[in-house]
């Protein structure tokens, strides 16, 4: 077990060193992290899904807050179609106390998150190359693994959900469902730096 753990740590490290994060088309990096309900959630738990919407997010960032409701709606809309949301909180509670495990539990309960909200205390975000919150990695099933289909923003208007004109993530999911490559496959978005 120890050896397996060490191997996976080394392989993540190697990926980080070589790639500086994932790109569309890359194989997704597995993770196994503690959820707000105390249970461990792994990427491999989703092997029967068509894909996973991995979202690096956090409690206090105004952009993350602005997207909370939209992330819940995305899960409610796409989980049934085989693309559930898995949220990972990568912030170090020593630097950002609002992102402590207890505060994550409170937020998940208060908002009624219908998806897991995992504490990323293993620097999975670095392996993925996430730099801010929220930062989206849409994964699609590829054989027995997942590969990255889309990286970036949810849409083009963090402030006002009603004023969105480009739904980047939803377009990417639609492309994957139709067997096409998302275009754009990457977008950039302003967000809070991961702490």
């Amino acid at each position: 077990m120890k050896k397996v753990f060490l191997t996976s740590v080394l392989s993540i490290l190697a990926l980080v060193l070589v790639h500086g994060g994932l790109k569309p088309g890359d194989k997704a990096i597995p993770f196994s992290l503690k959820n707000v309900d105390g249970k461990t959630v792994s990427l491999s738990d989703y092997s029967s899904q068509k894909g996973v919407i991995v979202i690096f997010t956090c409690n206090p960032c105004p952009f993350a807050k602005a997207y909370e409701q939209r992330i819940i709606q995305l899960h409610n809309k796409y989980a049934g179609m085989g693309f559930p949301v898995v949220a990972l909180n990568p912030n170090n509670p020593a630097i950002s106390p609002d992102d402590s495990y207890d505060n994550m539990k409170s937020r998940a309960k208060e908002k009624g998150y219908p998806f897991p909200y995992l504490k990323d205390n293993q620097n999975i975000y670095k392996a993925y190359g996430a730099t801010r919150t929220p930062h989206i990695y849409l994964l699609e099933k590829s054989g027995n693994n997942f590969k990255v289909a889309y990286i970036g923003a949810i849409d083009d208007n963090a402030m006002e959900a009603g004023a969105v004109s480009k739904r980047y993530l939803e377009s990417a999911i639609k492309a994957v469902i139709e067997g096409n490559k998302p275009s754009p496959a990457t977008t950039k978005a302003i967000g809070c730096t991961i702490k």
């Binding site: 105004p62 923003a153 950039k188 978005a189 302003i190 967000g191």
Partner: protein
């Protein structure tokens, strides 16, 4: 860019947002930032991208104000581009600027589709802030990190010499 587009941009840049305090804050859109990121004259421009909700940005803002107030280097122009939500200008941005005594120029970004303009500032920008562009007609450097005063002075010096 045709004359009409340029005219619209100029008009847009002249539209001032007057906050509760009466302090005018200018708005800027994606086209405006593209222009402001590529001026070609003898001034060195320092564009700092920040927001009131970004704690490292808040911590470093004083160093840009210090550069702005430094009369020893008149060929330097500091512009603080705020990525705060436009509906929080009165409630957050203006009180913050007053509290910190900021007299440097401030622009509020109105184009929320960051992908439409972010590469114009620098293609390497991931979207995280603070981020700072320092440039003149000969050289440019883009720094996606929090800066110390000494580091900022050093970077400006390298651009100018």
């Amino acid at each position: 860019m045709d004359v009409r587009t340029a005219f619209i941009i100029v008009i847009f840049l002249l539209v001032s947002y007057t906050g509760a305090s009466g302090q005018p804050i200018q708005l800027i859109d994606g086209d405006g930032i593209a222009v402001l990121s590529s001026l070609s004259n003898d001034t060195t421009y320092i564009l700092n991208f920040w927001a009131t909700w970004c704690s490292p940005c808040v911590e470093e803002i004083a160093i840009f104000e210090k550069i702005h107030r430094d009369k020893m280097n008149p060929k330097v122009k500091v512009i603080l581009v705020s990525l705060d939500f436009i509906n929080q200008v009165d409630s957050r941005v203006i009180p913050f600027l007053e509290k910190k005594g900021i007299s440097a120029e401030v622009r509020i970004m109105t184009d929320t589709d960051y992908n439409a303009w972010i590469d114009q500032v620098d293609p390497s920008w991931t979207g995280a802030i603070p981020a700072t562009l320092i440039y003149n007609r000969d050289r440019r450097v883009f720094l996606e990190k929090e800066l110390s005063y000494n580091e900022l002075v050093k970077q400006i010096h390298q651009i100018q010499h």
